[in-house]
Assembly symmetry: C2
Homo-oligomer: 476 residues x 2
Amino acid sequence: MRTNSSTAEDLLIELDRNRTRAEPLHRQVAASIRESVRAGRLRHGASLPPTRTLAAGLGVSRGVVVEAYQQLVAEGYLTSRAGGYTQVALEPGGARVAAAAPAAGPGTQGVAPAVDFGYGHTDVSTFPRAAWLRSVRTVFAATPDDRFAYLDGRGVPELHQALADYLNRVRGTSADPRHTVICSGFGQGVSLLIQVLAARGARRLAVEDPSPDDDARPLAAAAGMDVVGIPVGPDGILVGELEKADADAVVLTPSHQWPTGGVLSAAARARVIRWAKRRGALVIEDDYDAEYRYDRAPVGAIQGLAPGHVVYCGTASKTLVPGLRLGWMLVPPHLVDDVAQAKLLADRGSAVIDQLTFADFLARGEFDRHLRRMRPVYRRRRDALLAALDARLPELTPTGVAAGQHVVAWLPPDLDEAAVVAAAARRGVALRGVARYRLDPAGPGGLIFGYATLSERAITGGIARLSRAIGDVRAS
Amino acid sequence: MRTNSSTAEDLLIELDRNRTRAEPLHRQVAASIRESVRAGRLRHGASLPPTRTLAAGLGVSRGVVVEAYQQLVAEGYLTSRAGGYTQVALEPGGARVAAAAPAAGPGTQGVAPAVDFGYGHTDVSTFPRAAWLRSVRTVFAATPDDRFAYLDGRGVPELHQALADYLNRVRGTSADPRHTVICSGFGQGVSLLIQVLAARGARRLAVEDPSPDDDARPLAAAAGMDVVGIPVGPDGILVGELEKADADAVVLTPSHQWPTGGVLSAAARARVIRWAKRRGALVIEDDYDAEYRYDRAPVGAIQGLAPGHVVYCGTASKTLVPGLRLGWMLVPPHLVDDVAQAKLLADRGSAVIDQLTFADFLARGEFDRHLRRMRPVYRRRRDALLAALDARLPELTPTGVAAGQHVVAWLPPDLDEAAVVAAAARRGVALRGVARYRLDPAGPGGLIFGYATLSERAITGGIARLSRAIGDVRAS
């Protein structure tokens, strides 16, 4: 591995301890390191000195350095590594490597935000490297050679079986290994489904309103289909509106509507299934984050109710790391050959070693273990967010808080969403409003808070900044 | 890993040693095992007894069992595993897992061919598992967390650098790491390029005639472009015909024309580049197998002559294994952002761990080592093929023999290609003719011999069968 292994022994940090109105020391340390990264003096991959070493060198308490590092990790300048050391995370020049996250926070032009509530980041530092490596080793010891050849478009049989076992147990699906297709994540999965549907004459795709603007919607439009938005209430999509929409398929997030967080009721689920059966329509279930549920038992997947009418889509991007590029679909039998064929044409199948490794990882129970470990971490971040919102911004109304890695908070009618987002950016807080995800522009203003990668301290600090930003808006 | 670990201790093999005209013992052993696999008594993944054990049990010399196993490995029924043991390679029911190879041999309906000269198979048993695993371990020890997040559409910077170093050294490219895009192989790469070209108004794609029928041609047609075939001579594409074709881009295999094997001359290369510059056209260079060159030094990539007008495409599918799903493109600067964006939309990037691992594998020199190890293996297989053709079928004219993993042999005018292919199938030999890859149906008949996965014995046996098949055609 070529990584830049230069260390930052020669880190230049000047502290101002004399002036009574000086910035706190940890902020001065953080500012100095941030400036070195921005100026390229500290390059991507460079290791920082251990906190103890730097603190001794500066003549400050170790807590000062720890706090500075934590802030810069939260801001994305540094990453915390196994073994306790810290590295520079930015590319030279300051461009974020992760700039292309599906719905990343917008950031302010040119300046990295202090706190980034952008959705779509996953806490990649928690990836269980050792357990994954054990599974890779098992794969190389046990896999027949022919698994490394071209496969059919569905993927590796071992993974079909391991996923079916897992999903049937944990998500209440009715998964048949033979009808499982491995893909690179939801984005590719829905692209393949739309190709197949369009080729079979589908003309109209219903989506939730609001919903993500970077997958099903542009893909369906590019395939020549009409896209129709179905309004969403507190309990997810309004099925009565869906029934009127003359659609051939619908994309749903029934377990945790994205972004508003509603959970589709049992009655509404049954009604969606009746609609699909009556029309011969397809339900595309995007089960993007249901593994992270905090206050009550997870809601089962809708696919389990009608496996002949629902495609279940899951992904490792939120539960493990996006870099795996692994997703999976449970496809109704009459569509599975077409979907597998589309996958072959797109890229001749997903990477085989990763599929085999994930199969072993699932079969060993490592995936369950990872989720058990991460659930309290994300829950504490969510709790910190809700507590800070409650303390600093009680006029906002959080929703969809029981699951996932983000929360939407509705704004009171007198606060303009765009003005709040812009003011927040000026205060160093990156976040997005709900408006950009709406098809019908009418609807209340709301803010989307992704909290998966932020420390509790960064969350609290971010909400304090947001509170000042909202003060700016009210004062203007 | 769940694999079927049943062994074949109870293998029923009846030998006929008495009759003077009995089949040789190794053929009887092979036939018996083949029949057990076909009938499902030996299931996929089952281990066979060690040759010594089985030989002792049958009261035959070990060489008899070794030869039987080798034949069945060559035929695809068994796979040879590291550590010297042997497993059943077929899926229950006899369907080949690798049925979807891009240009796999057709096989005969229902019966696995005895010898399969289908192109597109790679000898997956040679994958250097231990070296790859070492690189995976290095990656997990050394990679910063943020590499596992969403990346931009170009892929992992470490791999860009390692590929640029390798390609500039070995393929004579002019690679800039910043203009390198990682994809899932040539199929996806050309799909992305065609999307970008179509969006920029390209209307007409030139391809070699003959050329593969499963990537650029259907993809361009699906994108609404005209596809025009440019005839190929002994030295590759006829540039004079290209100049008349009014095309916006051309897909070329200049180092080893697929399938006919011609190498584009230096003068023709310069003329292609002049054509591209004059028209503002794009050359898509498919460098699918040039690493395997036997009788003279490799011919450098055409991309090195004009990096602003050529996209260089390479893949690990032929050099390592298809299951990696790794390919790479060197893209002219003015197109790289569009191509990266198309990659993001298609699947949000290729699997990261594999990219990082391949980067380390390249940087350690393991890729060079693997190629050095494989070159004489493939060369011996090619030599066996040429020797067998010369001995048994001197009326065929082999061509394009200096490189790669396949040879085309032209048929004399009195032999009908389709009749020979059909007769070969009846004699247990799977191969394809050149005709199916032609856009203009006129042209001499020829047979495509993929030899990458066949033992020298299987090759010789296959040509003997083919010779009998051609005898059948002449007699009918």
